[in-house]
């Protein structure tokens, strides 16, 4: 469908690699202690073969590692002349089209950890409560640029309710 949207492939932008790193770090921070705990519990009750129990959390973590990569890959956005396209989702695929004239607010947020990693989240609001369009990990400069660009185009094309 790229030809339907008339967006050249290079106009689609992805998320910052820092977001993928941040998420994988969080995953590792959770999975390694879980594996250690599983190994400890397994060996206590089953003896040395019980160490194999540790592979369960490790396997899940490996799968999640890939899932993070795929979700990160799938998330992309494109600014067209009059609207913003945001596509994401691996299992459930979603494409959102938000005309600039309908945007009411653009939020840029970054938690303490995200700030450390240099990622920020951009969230768009329209007058409809069901509009839930998020671009989760952008470099702060890109997030600020996007916010300003969206606000400016929104002003030019604003439509009342």
């Amino acid at each position: 469908m790229p030809d339907l949207w008339r967006v050249p492939p290079q106009a689609w932008r992805g998320l910052s690699p820092q977001l993928r790193r941040l998420r994988r770090l969080l995953l590792a921070a959770g999975a390694l202690p879980a594996a250690a705990l599983a190994a400890l519990v397994g060996s206590t009750f089953l003896g040395p073969p019980g160490l194999l129990v540790a592979f369960a959390p490790l396997g899940a973590a490996v799968w999640a590692w890939h899932a993070i990569g795929r979700a990160w890959d799938a998330w992309r956005y494109a600014e067209r002349d009059d609207d913003l396209l945001v596509q994401h989702g691996v299992l459930v695929r979603r494409l959102a089209v938000v005309p600039y004239g309908r945007m009411q607010l653009v939020d840029v947020t970054a938690g303490p950890l995200a700030r450390r990693f240099g990622v920020a989240q951009v969230r768009l609001h329209t007058a409809a409560a069901t509009t839930d369009v998020v671009i989760p990990g952008l470099a702060p400069d890109e997030a600020a640029r996007l916010r300003d660009a969206l606000a400016e185009r929104g002003r030019d094309r604003a439509v009342g309710l």
Binding site: R93, V97, R102, A128, T130
Partner: protein
Amino acid sequence: MTSAGSEPADEYHHLHPLTPLLRGWLLVGAVAASVLRNFVEEISARGVLITLLLLLPTASAYGYCAWRFTRYRVNAESIRLETGLLFKRFRDVRLDRIQAVEIAQPLLARAAGLAVLRLDLGGAHDGDEESGTSLSYLSLERARTLRAELLARAAGVAPDIGEAPERPLTVVPPGRLAASIALSPAPWLALAAAFVLITPALLTGTFAGFVAVTPALVGVWRTSFRRFASGYHFTVSESPDGLRVRGGLLNRAHHTVPHGRVQAIRLRSSPLWRWPGWVEVQINVAGEARSMLLPVAPRAQAVALIERLLPKVDLGAVAMLPPPGRARLLAPLRWHHIRCGADDQVFVTQSGRLWQRTEIVPHLKVQSIQVVQQPLHRVLRLADVHLDCTGGPVRIRAGLRDVQEAYRIAAGQAERSRLGPHATLTARTDRSDDPPPAQTEYDSPLAAVCAPEYGPAG
């Protein structure tokens, strides 16, 4: 209170003098109850007297001051409300942002001949007090003239023409309303459940069943009664400043939806209503909690009303397309009832087998568009298209379309939303504050791809 027209525009007004009494009755009642409970052991007339002597002047002084320091002013652009004894609060509501003006009469206020005037702005938080403001209480007559003045000013008409004449479009007779409630499944299901629970109790002679069932029966009676009470003498009428909707047995509600503020419409019929051919009509209006436009009406009447709300729309002429045949695998029973279609003004979807729904959204009111593909949908190359619109219960979803078609619908919708303000300015010509539509010279590559009459993917 003199009429709105004879006063200078920037003069302050006070609310009705009975306001503190009506506002405070709950407080007074609570205090009286606690006083009574304290004195019930040792009822001394002296104690009660002292309490009352202390309480009454304080309460009335506070009430008087609160009333004295609450005032409002209407001028050409805004209505300003000042409240607060110590901490002053000023609230300016811009008249051109008003989405709807409502006159409500709660039971007690109705007895006193007073009314609440509510101004709804299309805030992001539905039903939130902060997004609008209300003046309580005014005399009913004052509320009417003020509403007329606000609506006239908001519409850019001379403010002193008085209340606009109105022409009734639809009235719901109480008999039909009662029949419609009797024909909806909820009361019968509850009765059947009660019967199932009570019969063993009667046979065995233990009455525990009654105890269990009574709350459910009371609940059903209450919801049914509420439906009846809120729909009693429901009237929709048309006036130059918008659509007037009023009704109610105990609490009278009376609100006005200015032209062009209807965001989406839904027609719904419950299974038993199909036999008399009745539908219920609900609308989305930004920032307005009330969504009922017609509790029950014959379908033709409802369609006529909708076509009056959305001029230039002919619902019968919109070509409704079924989803592809392979969608039957996911919705074997519903398939025949899932349809969607569009003309150059509105997008229409149909869904539901038992509760059949028809949802209508004008292209101009679509806020954002989403194409959602569940895993199973992907196997069958299907997708849903959601058109997000503001406020209220109506959600527009074109379900189970072919993937290519779904993306084409979304692209076409995006294109219409771009072209919209130029092409269809019908309902909003009276608005003066809107910035002129952006007249940039855009090339229109999508126009060819997404003509309004898209067909199945081919």
